[in-house]
């Protein structure tokens, strides 16, 4: 137990304490840049991920939680999701310890991960859209049936996913896939808050997805989850990739601190 406390304390050096406000400011500044560029992503946790990787999982956790609470001072809707941001920081830190950000991956792995991800995403969305409600219970269509019915969609998903893996992930498949996993976790744990606090909507463009899932008969929690599962993994994958690129351009002396 004492070991754990000591290892947590060790993460919070003066440099870490000074780094955290800068990281939160980076989150906010980039989040706003993305809005000005009118891109369909958030990218509002790049600073949090950086702290997780540079200073450790606990520092990442604190950064994420504080970032959302402070952002809540001018945008109250982000404050209830402080625990999601905390988990993102924690997972980025764990991925960093595992070496996701300083190993280069072979390119075929990037293609594979991109293809698998897009395939699962297509399966997930089609399963929700073809959901049938029998006597009040949701019944998911069988995977084999979906594969036969939408064969073209799945082939397209594999090709697009592979291409994205090859051109976007390049040698950063480890960081990218850590981001994908983080995004999936973020989608799962944020769904209850979306459903309970916000009535299942996000008040932004992704509500179109919520509408589509609701119209197909999914319940409120499932629709919130599905909305998150479509937007979060891709967003976190991009964020992790950006951090990976940033870390490659940082001087080694800084990383050592």
């Amino acid at each position: 137990m004492n070991n754990i406390i000591n290892s947590i304390k060790k993460e919070f050096t003066t440099t870490t304490l000074v780094l955290i406000p800068v990281a939160i400011a980076i989150n906010i500044a980039i989040g706003e840049l993305v809005v000005r560029l009118n891109l369909p992503v958030y990218l509002d946790s790049i600073g949090t991920i950086l702290v997780g990787v540079l200073a450790g999982p606990w520092a990442g956790l604190v950064t994420g939680a504080l970032a959302n609470i402070i952002w809540g001072l001018i945008r109250p809707s982000s404050a209830p999701f402080f625990y999601v941001a905390a988990v993102i920081g924690l997972m980025a830190g764990l991925a960093g310890r595992w070496g996701a950000f300083n190993r280069e991956s072979p390119r075929w792995l990037s293609v594979l991960i991109g293809a698998v991800f897009f395939f699962s995403l297509a399966m997930f969305i089609l399963a929700f859209i073809n959901l049938q409600v029998v006597d009040g219970f949701p019944v998911f269509p069988s995977m084999a049936g979906l594969l036969r019915q939408y064969a073209l969609v799945f082939i397209a998903a594999l090709i697009i996913g592979g291409a994205i893996g090859y051109f976007l992930l390049q040698n950063g498949a480890y960081a990218g896939s850590a981001g994908l996993i983080t995004g999936v976790v973020a989608a799962i744990i944020s769904a209850p808050t979306v459903a309970i606090v916000f009535g299942g909507v996000t008040g932004s463009g992704t509500d179109l997805l919520v509408a589509a899932f609701r119209a197909s008969g999914a319940n409120i929690l499932a629709s919130a989850l599905a909305q998150g599962a479509v937007s979060d993994p891709f967003d976190k994958m991009l964020s992790f990739m950006v951090v990976w690129i940033i870390l490659r351009s940082l001087p080694a002396r800084f990383k050592a601190r």
Partner: protein, 258 residues
């Protein structure tokens, strides 16, 4: 001069002069009440009878109502359209072509909007009437770690500078011919040239800043004195305990009757 990163509205009012912890306890109690009270009109009534009168007392009714309006509206529209019209099955209120308004969906949307209204209202009231630095001093006095207080106060101070820096970088890269408008690929390609200078530049500053704060007794274990005085009173202490008791009461009642 950049505008500070906070919603604080400077006014001379009784609400502003309350001890920050009194307002924090009230806000926390309102948040719990918004989430725990089962009756759908409770959130609307509490907003009208607690939050709005307090904002009038604090001379911030107008900015508060405007802020509530702009933050709650997108949620309200979404929740009424989606949950009101796309509710799976239920009693139909009226039908318009393919969509129909369901009673259950309408009730759910009304309840959700009330909850969002009260949560945002309580939060905005607190943020507009409380200076962040006085809140941090008050929290430090009851044993909140100094490092966390430093992080929060510093963040609030440096965010406007970062926003300005981001704008400068955007202008600079544009003047070098970076395209920031056009189709999505063009805009996505503009991202890295904007993000990299911002992040790398600020990270390099971090080291210098760390040395600077260490040279100013950042790690000192001594009790620090503060420039800003916060006034407290016995009445407010009693009020805080009462509000905490009420909040816990609401929670217990919620657990028992469910």
């Amino acid at each position: 001069m950049n505008s500070p990163f906070s919603l604080y509205v400077a006014r001379e009012s009784g609400l502003h002069h309350l001890h920050p912890l009194t307002k924090l306890t009230l806000t926390f109690g309102l948040l719990i009440a918004a989430l725990a009270l089962p009756w759908i009109w409770a959130t609307y009534i509490l907003t009208a009878l607690v939050i709005v009168p307090l904002s009038v007392w604090g001379h911030i009714a107008r900015p508060l109502l405007r802020a509530i309006w702009t933050t709650v509206m997108p949620f309200a529209i979404s929740v009424f359209l989606i949950q009101g019209l796309l509710w799976g099955s239920g009693t139909e209120l009226f039908r318009l072509g393919p969509v129909s308004l369901k009673q259950e969906g309408f009730v759910f949307a009304t309840a959700s909007t009330g909850r969002i209204l009260m949560i945002f209202g309580a939060f905005l009231l607190f943020a507009m009437a409380t200076r962040p630095d006085t809140l941090m001093i008050a929290l430090k006095q009851i044993g909140f770690p100094g490092g966390l207080a430093y992080i929060i106060v510093t963040t609030i101070q440096i965010v406007p500078r970062f926003q300005a820096k981001a704008n400068t970088i955007l202008d600079a890269q544009r003047s070098r011919g970076l395209e920031t408008e056009g189709n999505i690929l063009v805009r996505a390609r503009a991202l890295l040239p904007l993000v990299m200078p911002l992040v790398l530049g600020s990270l390099v500053d971090v080291e210098e800043r760390a040395i600077a704060v260490e040279a100013r007794a950042f790690n000192s274990k001594r009790r620090e004195t503060s420039l800003v005085e916060i006034t407290d009173s016995q009445t407010q202490q009693i009020a805080r305990w009462l509000m905490m008791g009420l909040t816990v009461g609401i929670l217990i009642a919620r657990v028992i009757w469910r």
